[in-house]
């Protein structure tokens, strides 16, 4: 699998970009030239260094409060990646767990879950996240719940369908025949076989969550304003696009680069793990 993935040059490069972003996020306190909230009143809206009036102290320029954009973008990677990972893990665990139970036991539990899932599928995700955040205000716990609200359904559907197919498979019948417990069958026999599609889905969901979080932060109802976040930074720069285009442009470019890399890596994973979906 690793070989296949590395054989796909685009996916390998995308994977490296994702790793680079993660390193940037972790090492931000060491790598960032300034504290992300440190204001430099003498250098408000400083241009990036390559502009004629740019300052080499602020490589990507500074914002309307004189904060270093590069440092803020590095710190902004932390919250984007952290929220993406937390939300995707949460939805992966909840969705896979419920989906496996529904697929294996079927019956009343499956019937009830299917109703709930049908209802949730009809929910416009971002609009409901927005409604929840509008009610609670910017707040990290609410943000995680709002972003996870519907996301588990995708994992549920994949896990349920795969377990439904697996429970009739010979290897499961054999395990049952030798007297394996239900827990053993579910976790040791079936789970390893349904992991690949779930990993692919997790990667593609990550891209969606990062954009959704940035969108909510852009609207001022995502990440609290005290934490540097890319969406908030683009919103901050919106008023200055006529004079200082860089303030809104660079944080957005960071979102684009990370999401593009995650998407390309996810599609590469899909090609490597799931030959049926290879295009």
């Amino acid at each position: 699998m690793l070989k296949l993935l590395l054989g796909n040059r685009v996916a390998a490069v995308a994977g490296l970009v994702v790793v680079a972003f993660v390193m940037l996020a972790i090492l931000a306190p060491i790598l960032a030239p300034y504290d992300p909230n440190e204001q430099h009143p003498e250098a408000i809206r400083a241009a990036p260094f390559w502009q004629a009036d740019g300052e080499s102290r602020f490589l990507l320029g500074s914002d309307s409060l004189g904060r270093d954009l590069l440092s803020r973008i590095m710190y902004g990677a932390r919250i984007s990646i952290l929220l993406g990972v937390v939300v995707v893990l949460l939805t992966l665990l909840v969705g896979t767990g419920l989906g496996m139970l529904a697929g294996y036991f079927r019956g009343a539990f499956d019937a009830v879950m299917s109703r709930i899932v049908d209802t949730l599928l009809a929910f416009p995700f971002l609009i409901f996240a927005l409604a929840i955040m509008a009610a609670t205000g910017p707040n990290l716990v609410a943000l995680v719940l709002a972003l996870a609200f519907k996301g588990w359904v995708d994992f549920y559907r994949v896990a349920r369908a795969d377990v439904l197919a697996a429970r009739e498979a010979d290897y499961v019948t054999a395990a049952r025949g030798v007297g394996a417990s239900t827990a053993h069958i579910l976790f040791s026999e079936i789970l390893p076989n349904i992991v690949p599609p779930l990993i692919v889905l997790a990667a593609l969901r990550m891209a969606i969550i990062i954009i959704a979080e940035a969108s909510l932060s852009f609207l001022g109802i995502g990440v609290p304003p005290s934490i540097p976040a890319w969406g908030t930074m683009v919103a901050d720069g919106r008023a200055d696009i006529a004079g200082a285009w860089w303030i809104a442009t660079f944080p957005g470019l960071a979102i684009l680069a990370l999401v593009l890399a995650v998407n390309l890596f996810g599609e590469g994973l899909r090609d490597a793990l799931d030959p049926r979906m290879r295009q």
Binding site: A122, I127, A131, A207, I211, V234, A242, A248, I255, N263
Partner: protein, 338 residues
């Protein structure tokens, strides 16, 4: 057969609509403060008795489930009470005034996405891995990976501020607003044969329309491309070619028609997703529609207004999903509609 299909699907909508409305209703109970206090605002000194009276009037002293019943009963009739932030106006009148702008922008974005995506997908599929296909694939990936609010801002910087080709905010040049017919400026301008107004409205729609259309165009393009590649490899297409039919007939008539079946379903689903982008794009471009109204209402803590708009978006989304299913069933005889 169709009657039964529709009846069944409409019945399935009921639990969905109950769930949607219940969550919208609950968000009001998550909000800090008391709706009566919001409503009274700066109305001066008010006795506890008056507050209790108002609470009883709006049913706020009743059990939660009764309040939900009242909420749904009012919502069905389009009544959401007074708006907290638009003084002296009901939520209904505020929403009604903004609805045409959002309809206009959404339809415009839809048209851009389709007009661009279907030909691009077809051309890309004719020569897989050719130059056009590679460009289109990269473009589609960018469209999917780009946050809409940022694309909007970049378009504003390039086409509005540096080139001055297009306006970057509003719906129309205020001196050119056409006579009111439907509230949809482009349509009103056409109906009243007002050329300058039409042109102005169209120019104002261009940038927000493109920003809103980008993710949908990307998804639809990819779908058309991959289903065309699949269809073009089928025996009947080879047969049509072998019969000596011109390539345009083979591609346009035999292949495209079948390739569009899965696309139609995706298009309806994506139109639902356009609505999510709508809120953000309207905010970026100061476009006076429902999306901007909702975002402003959030900032002003005007919860009844937020609820009303969220409910409108959610119900539209649910109905578009229904349309997607119905179209899919109508076009693909393999889908059992009974």
């Amino acid at each position: 057969m169709w009657g039964r299909f529709l009846r069944q699907r409409l019945l399935q909508l009921i639990p969905v609509l109950i769930g949607v409305s219940f969550i919208v209703f609950l968000t009001m109970h998550l909000t800090p403060g008391d709706p009566i206090e919001h409503m009274l605002g700066q109305a001066g000194r008010i006795t506890q008795e008056q507050i209790d009276e108002l609470r009883a009037h709006y049913g706020l002293d009743r059990p939660l489930i009764v309040q939900y019943g009242l909420f749904v009963g009012n919502a069905v009739r389009g009544e959401f009470g007074p708006s907290y932030s638009h003084h002296g106006r009901t939520v209904r009148s505020v929403v009604a005034a903004r609805l045409p702008a959002t309809l206009e922008l959404t339809v415009f974005a839809f048209v851009i996405a389709i007009v661009f995506a279907i030909p691009a997908g077809v051309i890309a599929s004719l020569r897989p891995h050719g130059l056009f296909d590679r460009l289109a694939t990269v473009g589609a990936l960018l469209g999917i990976s780009m946050p809409g609010f940022w694309l909007g801002i970049v378009l504003m910087i390039i086409f509005g501020l540096q080139r001055h080709w297009l306006p970057i905010s509003g719906r129309i040049d205020l001196a050119l607003v056409p006579d009111y017919v439907t509230g949809i400026h482009t349509l009103d301008a056409l109906l009243t044969a007002n050329g300058p107004a039409f042109w102005s409205a169209l120019k104002h729609l261009a940038l927000p329309g493109v920003a809103m259309a980008a993710p949908m165009a990307a998804m639809v393009m990819r779908m058309v491309r991959s289903s065309m590649i699949g269809v073009l490899a089928q025996d009947y297409v080879q047969f049509a070619r072998a019969k000596g039919l011109p390539e345009t007939t083979v591609v346009g008539k035999h292949a495209l028609r079948n390739a569009l079946i899965p696309t139609v379903n995706l298009v309806a689903l994506q139109t639902g997703l356009l609505l999510s982008g709508n809120m953000i794009i309207e905010t970026v471009f100061q476009f006076p529609g429902l999306g901007k109204l909702a975002v402003d209402a959030i900032a002003a803590a005007d919860y009844p207004l937020v609820q009303a708009v969220v409910l409108i978006y959610a119900v539209s989304y649910v109905l578009l999903n229904l349309v997607a299913d119905a179209l899919h069933a109508a076009l693909d005889p393999r889908v059992q509609i009974a």
